[in-house]
């Protein structure tokens, strides 16, 4: 059954990989999406300040039977993302140290025919923020030398004590992201 799971959008992988950071107790998750037409590459990285992993554990994490979960004997998030990158002439690297955090980075060939679309970044960010209002999220999106950035730490300053998951705030964030990413030069999917 597990083999049938199919994560169709890169933004869904991002949501899934950020779950690992949340499970590791991160208070800050930094997500970078950097497309570069010249080098025909798309780099996606997720960095957190959570519990981290030992070097031995990191070495095994691509293997689905390496998981700290107890409800299921396989962990699929990282193996699936690694597979998606490898199918697109890319690769995944994982850097982690206990007590400091983790940085996972995948590179794809931007124009590769099998590269999944980015999909709905806004929904991914909203799902993360709505359910985890105390975690800070930094989303940095670069393409063709344009940039869009969302940093919840900056929003908090303006909100002065009001939580990020209030309906009115979430709605504003969704519009802000949609607005920011509507800039054509930031488009990654054709």
């Amino acid at each position: 059954m597990a083999g049938e799971w199919n994560v169709r959008e890169l933004s869904m992988h991002i949501l899934d990989l950020a779950q690992n950071s949340i499970a590791a107790g991160a208070s800050l998750i930094e997500i970078d999406v950097i497309a570069d037409k010249k080098s025909d590459s798309l780099k996606i990285s997720i960095r957190d300040n959570g519990a981290g992993m030992s070097a031995e554990y990191v070495a095994q994490v691509r293997y689905p039977f390496t998981t700290s979960r107890t409800t299921r004997r396989v962990g699929l998030g990282i193996p699936m993302f690694a597979e998606a990158a490898r199918e697109c002439d890319g690769d995944l690297t994982l850097d982690s140290s206990p007590g400091e955090g983790t940085c996972l980075e995948a590179v794809f060939k931007l124009s590769h025919i099998d590269r999944a679309p980015m999909g709905d970044i806004s929904s991914t960010l909203i799902a993360l923020i709505a359910a985890n209002p105390d975690i800070d999220i930094v989303y940095r999106h670069q393409s063709n030398s344009s940039e869009f950035m969302l940093d919840t730490r900056e929003l908090r300053v303006q909100l002065d004590g009001v939580a990020l998951n209030e309906n009115a705030v979430l709605k504003w964030i969704a519009e802000y992201v949609a607005d920011g990413l509507s800039d054509k030069s930031l488009a990654i999917d054709n």
Partner: protein, 120 residues
């Protein structure tokens, strides 16, 4: 173009919503966000729940997430916790999610058809 300055107004609106619920949530909704849930569509379910609550102007229901609960086959799953009862719905999609908001969270009647497990 939206600017961070707009948030000042948004903050005022949020403060009003907070005043109405007086610090009390009437129910909690939990969307399972393991890889199993996400691959099955948990993100769209979450979006639909947030949108439906917003459309109905409901501000006293908290929306959170859990990891994989071992119900991988039934994902996406959604728990509704109301009046000390936990009801787990399975095979939820955007459409069902909106109906769960309307029927269970707002009107208080469980949608039996989609229930996977429920405590008394």
């Amino acid at each position: 173009m939206k600017t961070l300055e707009d948030l000042k107004k948004v903050r005022e609106k949020a403060l009003e919503q907070m005043k109405i619920r007086e610090g009390k949530f009437s129910a909690r909704v939990v969307v399972a966000m393991g890889t199993c849930g996400i691959a099955a569509g948990a993100r769209e379910v979450m979006s639909a729940i947030l949108d439906e609550l917003d459309k109905r102007g409901v501000t006293d229901i908290s929306v959170t997430q859990s990891g994989c609960k071992g119900l991988c086959e039934q994902e996406p799953t959604v728990d509704v916790i109301k009046d000390d009862q936990v009801v787990t719905y399975g095979y939820v999609d955007s459409d069902k999610a909106r109906q769960i908001v309307g029927q269970h969270l707002v009107n208080g009647s469980i949608v039996d058809e989609w229930v996977v497990t429920a405590t008394n």
